[in-house]
């Protein structure tokens, strides 16, 4: 079983990410039996089917897919994953903040894709609480990335008050 970082520790992951293969359509793709994290087009095409299975549903957004696309559906998701196709693609940071701060999503928010130790601090600040660290990396070592900084200047999800409202006078 693959392992991920969740809420600050390493845990086994029960979920399966569905990726559409070449030539597969959202309508025709075979859904994993359970604990499926489906791509946005599959969710959009097969909402009713997914909900009626009575199982926890996960969805993943690619970096160009904004949170607006699922903002009205949040109550259906146990898990939302945001893909970082390359770690230099920083759109997912905005996606995460919007899901948490604007749309009030409180379930698991997972970073997937090119997820490496040195982004974890930023991801955590933007509202991620789970990280599928890239498979070829040492996940134990990566955990240290959550602890690089003990303080931050800006307001963000993990600390909604900016430092200037918290500095002791």
């Amino acid at each position: 079983m693959t392992r991920i970082i969740k809420n600050g520790s390493i845990v086994d992951d029960a979920w399966t990410i569905l990726k559409l293969a070449e030539g597969e359509t959202p309508e025709s793709a075979a859904l994993p039996e359970q604990n499926a994290i489906v791509p946005l087009p599959v969710w959009q095409a097969r909402k009713d089917e997914l909900v009626s299975r009575g199982q926890p549903v996960g969805v993943w957004l690619d970096s160009h897919e904004g949170p607006e696309a699922i903002a009205a559906d949040l109550q259906h998701f146990t898990l939302i994953a945001v893909n970082f196709p390359k770690f230099a693609d920083g759109r997912g940071f905005s996606t995460a903040r919007l899901l948490r701060e604007r749309y009030g999503y409180t379930g698991e928010l997972r970073a997937i894709g090119d997820v490496l130790q040195d982004q974890l601090h930023f991801m955590k600040r933007c509202g991620f609480d789970a990280y599928a660290v890239r498979a070829d990396k040492n996940i134990e070592a990566a955990l240290a990335g959550l602890k690089d900084f003990s303080e931050s200047y800006q307001a963000a999800v993990d600390q909604p008050q900016p430092l200037f409202r918290r500095r002791t006078a």
Binding site: G90, H121, N138, D148, E151, S152, R165
Partner: protein
């Protein structure tokens, strides 16, 4: 100047530890070179033509004497005993050892310095007016704003991986000395009719391959909304800026594609969700930061010190220097002084370790222990008593820091270019040196008056050639170095992008072409006109005609663009 509290210090120390771990992981093979790249860039470490280059942040150009001494010490112990000041008011070390860079950052942290976000696709060092706080034409001191922005942008979690680099400049004076309209975001401090101070926001300016003058996206933003508005603006860019093409990734491309009204509308819409949220700036925080920039204990002095006038009357060389290097100050009896890093025979912006120490001593003795690095790559002592000017000049002269060429042709802005920079299409420093050599007569230069000549080694435009009266750009044609000349650019309130005069020139031709261009001016000027005024009156044709007269162009003008990174 701003002094760290324990939290600021801790954040910088933690950054050093993080960077040390990144370098170690790279050396032990668990972090690949490709993976390290964006991380080291966000700490100012480039891998250049001859090895690493480390760019050290000098927030809004402000340094204490102690910090400059530390830079001198670092340059001696870890480099070749000199540093280079850049157009972003930072310092570059050109010869550090890769493995020693964590040590250098550790040393910097001891004097409240770092290299955070001096490169990479993130919010870069904030720049401002070199005369901030002392300029007579200033509405208010921009430095508290800069420091507030520095803290807000440091490790901003949402904006560490933007489509491209993001540069912000702040101006608070009548005359814009910070070139804010060639920045991704330019902030002009303005007073509303109500008397309230706020910000006029420009966006989408930039140099590079597609130079654009920034446009107003908000005419007045109350101070307290500064951070939430910028969060909204950069979020729109982070989400919708292009990431498919390096050359089209700057915010100027997005602003142009959407049109400035639509871009501004999207920012406003995003802002409605952030406005008045916790990131709204408090008066208490503004006051806390502003307290670090209270004026030094000036002496009450008469407007004009008689000894200054006497010294000028008696000493022609001093008078020539004073004319160029001494600038008005809002406090009677004081002046701001520019120390020239454009001495003949030395690369523009380079400063040796002993010069750094000399400047630090001057700052301690004559300018309350502080100095500024200018985007023109010189150094400013902002608070010198007029009666000390003669002595300052003497000491500066002894260290090669008193060339009387500030604002003149040989006060060139010049990037490191092909001698050091791996992105370069052509060398730029030898061009600067050749121009210096040709125009070595100070009387001639003074007669020529104010004129700017800037040189960039590639389209990246670090040498700001687009906004120079005469711009020189290195281009690559079939692996040969050529130089494209632009004329008519200027910085300041009427910031203008220069126009290309035609086919490019070989390195040897450039000084002669410069001479040809200025000769048109010398022949045609009216008594009041500067070069740029004459150019604007006459248009490009006479300059073009003279530049090419007698020159046989072997290569066509078409597709002159180099293959440089933008």
């Amino acid at each position: 100047m701003y002094r760290y509290d324990s939290i600021d210090r801790q954040i910088v120390n933690e950054r050093v530890a993080q960077y040390r771990s990144q370098i170690l992981r790279n050396l032990n093979g668990t972090l690949s070179d490709d993976e390290l790249k964006p991380l080291r860039l966000q700490n100012g470490l480039y891998i250049q033509r001859h090895g690493p280059m480390l760019r050290i942040a000098i927030p809004y150009g402000l340094l204490s004497a102690g910090q400059l001494r530390k830079l001198a010490d670092i340059s001696r112990r870890y480099d070749r005993s000199y540093g280079h000041f850049t157009t972003r008011q930072n310092m570059q070390l050109n010869w550090p050892k890769f493995e020693e860079t964590p040590e250098i950052l550790g040393e910097l942290a001891t004097v409240e310095m770092h290299a955070i976000q001096t490169s990479g696709n993130c919010i870069r060092n904030i720049t401002t007016d070199k005369f901030a706080g002392v300029a007579p034409d200033e509405l208010t001191d921009p430095r508290p704003y800069c420091e507030i922005l520095r803290q807000w942008s440091t490790f901003h979690p949402e904006f560490a991986f933007l489509p491209r680099k993001f540069k912000i400049a702040v101006n608070a004076a009548t005359e814009d000395r910070a070139v804010i309209r060639t920045h991704d975001v330019g902030l002009e401090l303005v007073r509303a009719e109500s008397g309230e101070i706020g910000v006029r926001v420009f966006a989408g300016g930039g140099m590079g391959r597609t130079p654009v003058i920034g446009k107003v996206v908000r005419d007045f933003l109350p101070r307290k909304h500064l951070l939430t508005y910028l969060d909204a603006l950069i979020r729109v860019y982070n989400r919708y800026g292009r990431r498919d093409n390096l050359y089209k990734a700057r915010i100027k491309i997005l602003v142009n594609a959407l049109g400035v009204e639509e871009f501004a509308r999207q920012v406003e819409e995003e802002w409605t969700f952030l406005k008045d949220g916790p990131a709204t700036l408090t008066d208490a925080e503004f006051a806390r930061v502003a307290a670090h920039f209270t004026p030094p204990p000036y002496e009450p002095l008469p407007d004009n010190d008689p000894s200054f006038a006497t010294a000028q009357a008696e000493n022609k060389a001093f008078a020539a220097w004073a004319k160029r290097s001494v600038h008005p100050h809002r406090i009677p009896g004081y002046a701001a002084v520019t120390l020239s890093l454009k001495a003949p025979g030395s690369p523009p912006g380079d400063i040796s370790d002993t010069q750094m120490e000399a400047v630090a001593d001057l700052a301690d003795r004559f300018s309350f222990g502080e100095l500024r690095v200018t985007h023109e790559q010189n150094v400013v002592l902002a608070d010198v008593r007029q009666r000390d000017l003669f002595e300052v000049w003497g000491i500066a002269r002894a260290h090669g820091l008193a060339t009387a060429n500030i604002g003149l042709l040989t006060d060139m802005i010049c990037c490191p270019g092909g001698d050091l920079c791996s992105l370069a299409n052509a060398r730029s420093v030898p061009i600067a040196l050749a121009v210096q050599e040709k125009f070595d007569n100070l009387d001639y230069l003074h007669d020529l008056g104010e004129i700017s000549l800037n040189i960039s080694g590639c389209m990246n435009s670090c040498g700001h050639h687009h906004v120079a009266n005469i711009g020189v750009l290195g281009v690559d044609k079939n692996n040969e170095e050529w130089y494209q000349i632009t004329v008519g650019g200027q910085q300041g309130n009427a910031a203008t992008i220069g126009k290309v005069i035609g086919p490019s020139f070989s390195a040897e031709e450039v000084p002669d072409v410069v001479e040809a261009l200025v000769s048109v001016y010398l022949e045609q000027r009216t008594p009041e006109e500067r070069f740029i005024d004459t150019f604007q009156r006459l248009g490009i044709e006479p300059f073009k005609e003279r530049a090419y007269r007698g020159r046989d162009r072997r290569k066509p003008a078409a597709s002159e663009e180099g293959a440089a990174h933008d």
